[in-house]
Each structure stands twice: as C-alpha cells, then as structure tokens.
C-alpha cells in the first residue's frame, strides 16, 4: 500500500522549536526593520544604519523561507511567500511616505 497522503504534514518533534522561534523572529525582524527605517528617515539615526535595516529584512526573508520549509509548504506557496517578503521591503517606506505626505499637507 502506498503511504497515506497527509494534507497537514506531520511535523517532526525536533522541528517545533525552530518553527516557533522562526515564526516569532519573522515578525520581530519585520518590526525592527520598519523601526530602523523610520528612525533613519526621521534622522534620529545616521543613514549608515539603513544597512542594518536591510540586514534585518534579509534575516526576515531567511526566517520566512526556513519556516515555510519546516512546515512543508507547497513550492508555489513558498514562492508566493518570497514575493510577499519582497513586497514587504516597500512597507516601511510606504508608511513613512504616507506620514510625510500627510505632514506636508496638513502641517501648516
């Protein structure tokens, strides 16, 4: 008999910790990335720190990739997640753009 198909893949016991940690780190790195970008744009941090921001973004991508592999996502889903992560590159910039635009408009 063939192996039964499992729609929800069995997760190895040893994989749970990496899964929880990487999932938490995705969000944490995402937040750090957004905060550093904001602080740099606010000129509270020197612009050299933008490297740091992108570094966290790369870590975030890695965590996402790691997580999707560990939970046995389908190849298409992994690709879609990677595209979503590239889109996230824009998010803090969009947030900041919105802040400054509204500032220009209403602040005088």
């Amino acid at each position: 008999m063939t192996e039964p198909l499992y729609i929800r893949p069995i997760i190895e016991v040893s994989d749970f910790l990496p899964i929880f940690v990487s999932a938490a780190l995705i969000l944490l790195f995402g937040l750090i990335y957004a905060s550093v970008v904001t602080l740099v744009k606010m000129q509270r941090l020197k612009s050299i720190y933008m490297f740091l921001a992108y570094f966290f973004w790369i870590l975030q991508i890695y965590c996402t990739y790691f997580l999707t592999m560990k939970i046995h996502s389908q190849p298409f889903t992994i690709k879609a997640m990677m595209i979503a992560m590239v889109a996230y590159l824009m998010v803090p910039h969009i947030y900041y753009y919105l802040i400054t635009k509204s500032e220009e408009r209403y602040e005088d």
Binding site: I7, Q74, F76, T77, A80
Partner: protein, 50 residues
C-alpha cells in the same frame, strides 16, 4: 498544480481552494482591486477642486 478535491462537500469556495493560495489570492483581489477605482475617483475629485 491543481490538487484533488479532498473536502466532503463541493462548494464554490471549496472548488476555489483546489490550488495553492488560489482562494486567498482571489479574495484579496476582490478586496483590493476596487481601491484603485476609489483612488482614481478621488484623484479626479481633488484635481477638479479649487
């Protein structure tokens, strides 16, 4: 890429759920696309104002 239908009952959403992410991509599109229309409408309004 299209998976076999595994749910008990066939339904519109069940059928959309057959490919990876198809259902949520569909729902997100439905939610987000009309915002473009709102955008251009508001743009027109702002341009014609003042």
């Amino acid at each position: 890429m299209i998976e076999t239908f595994t749910d008990i009952n066939y339904s519109f959403f069940g059928l959309l759920n057959q490919g990876p992410l198809t259902l949520s991509l569909f729902l997100h599109l439905l939610v987000v696309l009309p915002m473009f229309w709102i955008y251009f409408q508001e743009k027109k309004r702002l341009e014609s104002e003042n």
